[in-house]
């Protein structure tokens, strides 16, 4: 099959040779599959290829970054690693690595990329792999407990030119570890006379493996500018007696797609997934999650909440697979949405696929406006309409935000939320 023009533009031809095998496989697979169109069930509501096609005329290879990126970087932790357009940037980073953590370049550790790709892999995961040239491997040694979270800040800088970034992060938590890892995606604010033809595209892949008896918390915060495109694939493997917590928070973007895949490979393991998406104007946020119960005696809990304003669009697709062997499974999923304006849209598809019988699974989803009676209650007590709405939304969103187990991160997210809903 001929490679489409778009793919040709998106796949870098040069790059580090240490990945040539992985890149070769991924490239031939993505050439065969092509980027997903609307006809692809997984991308039915998120036609990101079309936007890429329309906007990425000529992909500029090397992007000079603006000098004032430093001012964009919040201080969230003692340990911050900064990536600019997918490339780890030492002089913006700031950390004193706690004992037990090592950070290596992926180039020198190319075998660390998880099992790799096949024809069922997500198209954007393939695209990321076919562009592999750099990345980091974070290893947490056995029995390490990390107090302060490790924060990875990804800046997609398109201040001078269209930017395409393919960040790749591999996290390996060994046995008996406890750690919180956060990824923050930000972009530089667009110039005031922005024409929309200078979008950036971030296509991130994060692979996490949790060895037995570990407790790993993962926070993903998406706060890129409203004309950035973002696709993120987070793939997690959880071994026995481990707990994996994920909180995914998104504050819009031209089109954002998060694929969170969690495989429960060892029995007595647990996955907790929480998500919040807040969109306005013409933003578009799509969250796809998969929890794959492969073995018996595992639990999963999922709660995703959305607030849509303007003519924005929210999409949620949560899949729970319970394989035939996965008896005594408890899997719960809930998706709640608030539409604040008449033009906002929500498409949700909570999906259960169950092949085992000794299970307790449920999903629920609701869509509606702010509760009139709650508003009335507050207003009857002398609180103005605007403040009353903010209070209710704040409380609504906090159910998710309070799952973030680090105070700095929590405050940071709350701050963004307040700015966003107070617009």
């Amino acid at each position: 099959m001929e490679m489409s023009d778009l793919l040709q533009r998106l796949i870098l031809q040069s790059g580090d040779t240490s990945f040539s095998a992985a890149r070769g496989t991924a490239t031939s697979l993505i050439e065969e599959k092509g980027l997903p169109s609307r006809k692809n069930e997984e991308y039915k509501y998120t036609n990101i290829s079309k936007i890429l096609e329309r906007n990425f005329g000529e992909f500029a290879g090397n992007i000079e970054s603006a000098t004032d990126l430093k001012s964009l970087i919040p201080t969230l932790s003692e340990n911050q690693l900064v990536f600019v357009n997918g490339v780890y940037t030492e002089d913006l980073s700031n950390y004193q690595l706690p004992v037990g953590i090592t950070i290596d370049k992926l180039e020198e550790n190319s075998s660390a990329i998880a099992s790799g790709v096949d024809k069922n892999s997500d198209e954007f995961l393939l695209l990321n792999t076919s562009n592999l040239s750099t990345g980091v491997v974070i290893k947490i040694a056995k029995s390490t407990v990390i107090e302060s979270p490790l924060v990875l800040i990804h800046i997609t800088d398109s201040s001078k030119n269209q930017a395409v970034a393919h960040p790749r992060v591999v996290i390996k938590a060994a046995q008996h570890t406890q750690a919180t890892i956060a990824e923050l995606f930000i972009g530089n604010a667009c110039p005031p006379n922005w024409r929309g033809d200078s979008l950036s595209f971030t296509n991130a892949v994060t692979e996490i493996s949790c060895a037995a008896d570990s407790v790993v918390s993962y926070v993903k915060i998406g706060n890129e500018s409203p004309n950035q495109l973002h696709v993120g694939n987070t793939r997690v493997e959880v071994a026995e007696k481990s707990v994996f917590n994920a909180v995914t928070v998104n504050f819009g973007g031209k089109m954002v797609r998060n694929n969170l895949y969690i495989a429960l490979n060892g029995s007595h393991s647990e996955a907790n997934l929480d998500g919040l998406y807040v969109t306005d104007n013409k933003e578009h946020v799509d969250n796809h999650t998969v929890v794959d119960h492969k073995v018996p005696n595992c639990n999963s809990n999922e709660l995703y909440k959305g607030i849509m304003n303007g003519s924005s669009k929210g999409i949620f697709n949560g899949k729970i697979f319970v394989r035939q062997d996965a008896q005594v499974t408890n899997a719960f999923q809930s998706n709640k949405n608030i539409l604040l304006s008449d033009n906002a849209t929500i498409n949700t598809k909570p999906q259960l696929e169950i092949w085992a019988d000794d299970v307790k699974c449920s999903h629920g989803c609701t869509t509606g406006k702010l509760d009139k009676e709650q508003l009335f209650y507050l207003r009857a007590r002398g609180i103005g309409e605007h403040s009353a709405k903010l209070m209710l939304l704040d409380a609504y969103a906090n159910e998710v935000i309070e799952k973030i187990n680090d105070e700095n991160l929590r405050t940071y997210v709350q701050q963004i939320l307040r700015n966003k809903i107070d617009e």
Binding site: I346, Q351, L352, D357, C365, T366, T367
Partner: protein, 481 residues
């Protein structure tokens, strides 16, 4: 555990009770499908030119389509050239009394427990019995005629009421709708037509019993129901089929038009041959069912009890176009052995203040797969829409599967849409509770399943509820019923 295994073993080894075949002299078309066959069917039925033109248009469109494969079902590829597209019992002369009916046919009905005379006398149900594509007996016609209600076979309607058929045929399910709708539109054999005039409350349940009879005959039924403003009708559809080794294709279309203030209640009990316990044979049931609430305050209600077919693939849908119209969907789907069901509904909210309610109960046993796939769509201008969906799955045995694929698309902030689903097996504590009170495990399971499905069974008309309960009990006997 061993008790459970025993019970399951007994249940899974149960053979299909209604498995018999009656030999009629069928008037068959040759195998295969091409334009000549379409013309043959049309000529056989003395159809007017416009209907033939419609069939041919549909056929030509069908040729351009590809067989869909997105459903969560597996079956060997259908060879559409290996199907006989037309087959009719030879006795075609009009019958005025039951004495003239083929005694074998009467026997058929007796086996099914739906003897016409009994129904005629006792239940007040008018039966339009469809055996292999041609309506053989239609009863209660006179009574209905007095009220202006038309209830007849589709081919009769084409002859007697061409203006109505012309107006409504394909208006809800156009031949371009999907692969099987196009196929049906090209080769549909016969079906039922119901027309309820303005303001008429149909005094009895209209009912059609479908049976697939002659071997290798795909059934392509077409049902069209039109309820004029302010009318009411309750329509029953029931199916059983004899045991067959080869898979048989059934691709029907049901179209319902509900005008302002009218109400249509459509109930189905489906018990086609599901294949034997190794998954051999059985009916493929790929049906397009859709109704439109055209006027304000219209109401359309689908109730289905699905216990049969090797593969069921259907989504009875409501297009809620009129303001304040109401759509309902109540379903119980039971699968056993290697049965597969991918069923659900679509609720398309276009009018303001429209309401819909979905209650789906799936029960899977053996190696079966049971999926709910549904869509709730709220259009931008549909203000104050209300939807509530509930789909529960019950798993009996560790080799079956239950899947839920609800699509919810909301384009209006005033909509209140709720969906909830649960999947579980029967709780040990529930069984224990019953055991403690002297109810043995088998009875307890029956009790629990009955309670589980009750919400839907209650929605069936009286006559059907009995049959449905019987069917449920039959299918799950030895394990849960």
């Amino acid at each position: 555990m061993s008790k459970d295994a025993e019970i399951l073993e007994e249940f899974t080894s149960k053979e299909y009770e209604h498995g018999w075949s009656v030999d009629f002299e069928a008037d068959e078309a040759p195998k295969g499908l091409n334009e000549d066959i379409v013309r043959f069917i049309s000529a056989k039925k003395n159809e007017p030119e416009w209907l033939l033109a419609y069939r041919l248009k549909a056929f030509r469109h069908w040729l351009t389509l590809e067989e869909p494969d997105w459903a969560a079902v597996n079956y060997p590829k259908i060879d559409f050239q290996d199907i006989i597209y037309y087959s009719a019992p030879k006795k075609q002369k009009k019958l005025d009394s039951l004495d003239e009916v083929d005694p074998e046919l009467i026997e058929t009905f007796k086996k099914l427990g739906i003897s016409i005379e009994e129904q005629k006398r006792m239940t007040g149900v008018a039966v339009d019995a469809v055996i292999d594509s041609v309506s053989v007996a239609t009863t209660f016609k006179e009574t209905l005629g007095e009220l202006g209600i038309i209830f007849c076979s589709f081919s009769e309607a084409v002859k007697d009421h061409p203006e109505l058929i012309k107006k409504y045929l394909g208006s809800v399910v156009p031949y371009t709708d999907n692969y099987y709708a196009a196929l049906n539109s090209a080769v549909f054999s016969d079906g039922s037509f119901g027309y309820i005039p303005k303001g008429v409350h149909c005094p009895m349940e209209l009912s059609t019993y479908f049976r697939i009879n002659a071997a290798n005959t795909g059934q392509f039924e077409r049902t069209l129901i039109v309820a004029e403003p302010g009318s009411y009708v309750s329509y029953l559809e029931g199916c059983t089929a004899p045991q067959r080794d080869e898979n048989q294709l059934h691709a029907a279309i049901v179209e319902i038009i509900v005008e302002a203030d009218a109400e249509v209640k459509y109930s189905t009990v489906q018990n086609w041959y599901p294949g034997d316990k190794n998954g051999k044979g059985g009916i493929y049931n790929f049906v397009t069912k859709r109704g439109i609430c055209n006027g304000d305050h219209a109401k359309l209600s689908w109730t289905q009890v699905e216990t049969g077919s090797a593969v069921t693939w259907k989504y009875p849908s409501c297009i809620l176009k009129g303001d304040y119209s109401v759509g309902e969907f109540y379903s119980v789907a039971v699968t056993n052995n290697y049965q597969q069901a991918d069923t659900g509904t679509k609720m398309i909210h276009i009018g303001k203040g429209t309401k819909s309610r979905i209650v789906s109960k799936g029960i899977s046993a053996g190696h079966s797969q049971n999926s709910y796939r549904g869509l709730v769509q709220v259009h931008k201008r549909a203000k104050n829409v209300r939807n509530f969906s509930q789909c529960d799955s019950l798993l009996l045995g560790d080799k079956c599967g239950a899947h839920t694929f609800p699509y919810i698309e909301v384009d209006n902030s005033t909509a209140q849409v709720e969906h909830e689903a649960t999947t579980s097996k029967i709780g040990e504590d529930q069984i224990f509770y019953c055991n403690q009170r002297g109810i043995d495990t088998e009875e307890a399971v029956a009790l629990i399943v009955n309670g589980y499905a009750k919400e839907v069974l209650n929605k069936l008309p009286m006559e059907f509820a009995v049959e449905a309960q019987k069917l449920l009990a039959l299918t799950l006997e030895g394990s849960v019923g």
